[in-house]
């Protein structure tokens, strides 16, 4: 049973998270400030940590820094601060994910699972060698059996969606405009107004991203096109 440390000064929120995670079969240890969290980390075998930023005593940022001195467990920051700068700061000092309050409990559970998968199962990259595999972070495409996995979980895509994703993953980092994608996938000239490609992209995002509004892999470059972030 995997153990998750939840640290927030708001007891009700900790309680709620406890209920969700326990429901998903995780063991939960609870802390209400940074010092408590650090103490618990020393005495328990913790696999993942969820930490709030604004806490009395030691805040989430400094707690994360402290933890990172000794441990490499996944850390998810859960904060009411939703500014871009806050997210960038949190991710830069060592957190693996950043979720803003108020959060969707299902999304939180999904992200916890994703991080754990990444940490425990997919830590070693050289496990899968068979076939032609394109990888980008937790996203892997096996072109031989046309399988796509995100953090090890199999994703079902239509052929067109698969082709679009393959095109983008193959050329990770490059931005493709709608016309370019259309011409590559449909093999005919893109004539005039059509938002078919945009709709397909949206479908792909909904399938491979945890939160399609804040995509990790398939990013929209507004007014230019789409790309897969190189990781």
């Amino acid at each position: 049973m995997q153990c998750i440390l939840v640290c927030d000064d708001d007891k009700q929120i900790v309680e709620a998270i406890d209920i969700y995670l326990t429901g998903e079969g995780f063991e939960v240890v609870k802390a209400y400030d940074g010092y408590e969290a650090l103490d618990l980390l020393e005495n328990h075998q913790v696999d993942l940590m969820i930490v709030d930023v604004m806490m009395p005593g030691l805040d989430g940022i400094r707690t994360t820094l402290k933890v990172r001195e000794t441990s490499s467990i996944p850390i998810i920051i859960l904060s009411a601060k939703s500014e871009d700068t806050d997210k960038i700061l949190g991710l830069n000092i060592g957190a693996d994910d950043y979720i803003t309050k108020p959060f969707n409990p299902l999304e939180l559970v999904a992200r916890v699972k994703s991080q754990l998968r990444r940490y425990t199962q997919l830590g070693n990259l050289n496990q899968q060698t068979a076939g032609q595999i394109f990888k980008c972070g937790g996203l892997a495409i096996n072109d031989d059996n046309k399988e796509v996995t995100v953090d090890g979980e199999l994703i079902k895509l239509t052929p067109i969606e698969y082709n679009i994703l393959l095109l983008l993953v193959k050329n990770a980092g490059k931005v493709f405009s709608i016309d370019e994608i259309y011409e590559q996938i449909w093999n005919e000239e893109a004539i005039g107004a059509d938002n078919t490609v945009a709709v397909h992209i949206r479908h792909i995002r909904e399938k491979i991203e945890i939160n399609p509004r804040e995509p990790r892999y398939l990013k929209v470059v507004w007014g230019v096109g789409y790309k897969i972030e190189k990781q």
Binding site: I17, A80, S82, P102, S177, N195, G223
Partner: protein, 754 residues
């Protein structure tokens, strides 16, 4: 301090007297008028006085040589010598000896005084006295009558003549032969070894010995040049010597020497002493003058630095009564006092001077008194001015300043236009007067003075015009600077300040006022920015604080839902709770965004964006959402790509809000029209839809915060969407407009094409 001051004043007076003494000595010296250069002639022998004496003594020597032949026999005075022969009226020749003539003279009452001069005046011939024709006079052997009556003399006259010549002989004899003299001479004409004539007052000395005495003149018959150490060489001595030569050969010589150590008292030694004394006195006078001037300067410096101060090292200046009245008045008072003292001097001190000084020195004495009075009063005036200067009242307390102040008041209180007219009028007047004066002088007079004056007028005219040009140029330059500043300030650079250091007059005032305006604007702007930021900060913080409890609400509502309570009533309540908490969530997020967008507190990353592509992407994102409400998306987009300059993320937010708006408020099963129209400069995106509810509201109000089309606010949404969209569009340099025509809602987003 006071004692010190008195000491300095006394010292100064002493120094002034030193100057006066020095000047007096130099002024009254016999050598006054020769300039200071006479001091370089260090000895008496170098002076023209000595030369004059020497020359006259040479003449005396020649005279003596003549008299010797006339009055002496074998080197002794011979009273029996025949001196005059006359012919009387009837033709009888009469002869007189020296003895007879001297006795006749004595009988007439003449005698020789101590300087061997005949006392009294020459006798005037009486009308009845017998005129005698002079045939021979021993002292004038070569006399030739040149006019009628020249040769006629009375016996009295002849006797007087003889006596006076005898006096001359005695004088020389007494001076140079009888008494020892500093001047030695020897004249010798030689025919052969035994036959010679020798005139001398020295015996047994060789020529070289005589030369060694000091100054000498040595002339021989053989040499053509004159051997002497005198400068300049006395003239006509050689010719005179030759004239006296009885032998008609060149075997003669003459030496005249002056013993410059002056062992004997004679006219030379007396003159030399007098010369040396006066030279010494002159030098003393000069030294006294120089020391006096130096002392005056030093004490004056101390007086100037000390005056006004009552104590050491204190800057407080105490002013006497005379220093308190206006500067010009005190100067006039001092001038009156000076006049009074001058008059006093004239009536009292002059008389005192007259008592003590000889009449020829009176003028000098009076002059000295006048100068001293003027100097004393001048010093007092200067010290008073210095005190005023120290106390800063020199200008402040002057009538001229008051006058100027009043004048300035007079000029200043006119309007600018009046001032320009006044200024131009006086400029014109100045030009005309100067030009006329110059031309008039040039045309009428042609002497040098008038030409110079005419030129001066022309130069003044030129300078005046140049000055006016400079002022005009300066004014224009200042106006330009002010204009620049106004442009800058109106362009938004409110912190711009004009450097008023080089400005003057009205322009300076103007520039300073503009600076004040700029400063005021800047302050207001900063205040506004600060309050905007405070507001944003407040909203952000509040939203953070709301979010935490909101998280609990949402989570626990969700948890209750998971309990699968079958009671439909509770399910209904839960639905409401969930809906409202979600709305609260949107609301807090939108609130932060709206405040940031409207305060411009966002960092834009502007890039070239294909607007058409962006609309395609947006359409793609919303196609299925619109399908949920059966909204038909009718878009007419151009095939070409249209590039604009914007931040893609925020432009997406604008469009997202618009599309969401249509999704929320458009009538179900209606069409949403999406167009892009392009003209020369702009690209216009238009979205049109039919509202479900009547839009009885002004379009401008829709883009204000918390305003929604449905006044009842029953639908979801924060009422911030359009406001955010408008703010964001404007931040990116576009325009966002909303039109309402009945139930038709139309939104336009305009951007400039790159």
């Amino acid at each position: 301090m006071k004692k010190k001051k008195e000491q300095v004043v006394i010292l100064h007076i002493i120094c002034v007297f030193l100057v006066v003494i020095g000047v007096s000595i130099m002024y009254n010296n016999t050598h006054y008028g020769e300039g200071i250069s006479w001091l370089t002639r260090e000895t008496y022998e170098d002076t023209s006085v000595f030369m004059g004496q020497f020359k006259s003594d040479i003449d005396n020597i020649f005279n003596y040589m003549k008299y010797k032949g006339v009055f002496e026999t074998d080197g002794k005075l011979d009273y029996d010598r025949l001196v005059v022969r006359v012919v009387d009226g009837p033709g009888t020749t009469r002869e007189y000896t020296l003895d007879e003539m001297v006795r006749h003279a004595k009988s007439l009452g003449y005698y020789l005084d101590e300087r061997f001069k005949v006392n009294g005046r020459p006798p005037t011939p009486k009308s009845d006295e017998e005129q005698l024709k002079v045939e021979y006079r021993a002292y004038e052997p070569n006399f030739q009558s040149t006019g009628p009556g020249d040769a006629l003399k009375t016996v009295d006259e002849l006797a007087y003549e003889v006596l006076s010549h005898l006096g001359n002989y005695y004088a020389f004899h007494y001076k140079f032969i009888q008494n020892p003299s500093n001047m030695k001479f020897e004249v010798k004409y030689q025919s052969n070894d035994s036959d010679y004539k020798l005139y001398t007052n020295v015996s047994g000395k060789s020529i070289d010995e005589l030369k060694g005495l000091g100054k000498y003149l040595y002339i021989t018959g053989q040499d053509l040049y004159v051997d002497t150490n005198l400068i300049p060489i006395p003239q006509n001595v050689s010719s005179e010597l030759e004239k006296m030569n009885p032998y008609n050969n060149n075997n003669y010589h003459m030496i005249v020497a002056v013993n410059t150590s002056y062992p004997y008292t004679d006219s030379y030694s007396v003159s030399a002493d007098a010369y040396n004394n006066s030279r010494l006195l002159f030098i003393m006078g000069l030294v006294s003058l120089c020391m006096g001037i130096l002392g005056c300067a030093i004490t004056l410096y101390f007086m100037i630095s000390m005056t006004g101060h009552m104590e050491y090292n204190k800057d407080t200046i105490s002013l006497s009564r005379i220093d308190r009245i206006p500067t010009e008045w005190s100067l006039i008072l001092l001038a009156l006092a000076t006049l009074f003292f001058l008059l006093l001097g004239k009536y009292i001190l002059y008389k005192v001077i007259h008592l003590f000084l000889p009449v020829e020195k009176w003028f000098y004495g009076e002059l000295a008194i006048r100068v001293l009075i003027l100097y004393a009063m001048g010093t007092i005036a200067v010290l008073s001015l210095v005190r005023r200067y120290k106390a800063n009242t020199l200008w402040k307390n002057s009538l001229l300043r008051r006058l100027l102040k009043n004048l300035r008041l007079y000029i200043k209180n006119h309007r600018f236009t009046t001032r320009v007219i006044l200024f131009y009028g006086s400029f014109l007047l100045f030009n005309i007067i100067m030009a006329l004066a110059s031309i008039f002088l040039y045309m009428i007079y042609d002497d040098l003075g008038s030409r110079i004056l005419s030129g001066a007028f022309a130069v003044i005219l030129l300078c005046g015009d140049l000055w006016v040009f400079h002022q005009l140029y300066r004014s224009a330059w200042e106006t330009d600077l002010i204009n620049d500043a106004l442009l800058k300030i109106s362009g938004g650079d409110t912190s711009y300040q004009i450097d008023t250091g080089e400005f003057s007059g009205k322009e300076q005032e103007l520039a300073q006022n503009i600076n004040h305006i700029g400063k005021g604007l800047e302050t207001a702007l900063q205040e506004k920015v600060r309050s905007e930021r405070l507001k944003t900060d407040l909203i952000t913080n509040v939203s953070h604080d709301i979010k935490t409890p909101l998280t609990s609400i949402i989570n626990y509502v969700d948890l209750i839902k998971r309990e699968h309570i079958q009671d439909p009533k509770i399910q209904g309540y839960l639905e409401v709770l969930e809906q409202k908490s979600q709305r609260l969530k949107t609301l807090t997020e939108d609130l932060v965004e709206a405040s940031k967008a409207s305060s411009g507190n966002l960092k834009l990353e502007m890039a070239d964006i294909d607007f058409v592509e962006l609309i395609h992407q947006t359409n793609g994102e919303f196609e299925e959402k619109f399908a949920l409400r059966h909204l038909d998306m009718v878009s007419s987009l151009p095939d070409e790509s249209i590039l604009i300059r914007a931040d893609g993320r925020y432009l997406w937010r604008v469009l997202e809000n618009l599309y969401n708006n249509a999704f929320k408020y458009a009538m179900e099963k209606s069409r949403v029209y999406i167009d892009i129209v392009k003209d020369d400069k702009k690209v216009v995106f238009t979205m049109k839809n039919i509202s479900t509810k009547p839009l009885n509201i002004h379009p401008d109000e829709l883009t204000e915060r918390f305003v929604r089309g449905d006044v009842a606010r029953t639908t979801e949404g924060s009422g911030l969407g359009l406001s955010i969209a408008k703010s964001l569009t404007e931040l990116q340099g576009g325009t966002f407009t909303v039109y309402i025509d009945g139930d038709l809602f139309k939104a336009q987003v305009e951007f400039f094409i790159r």
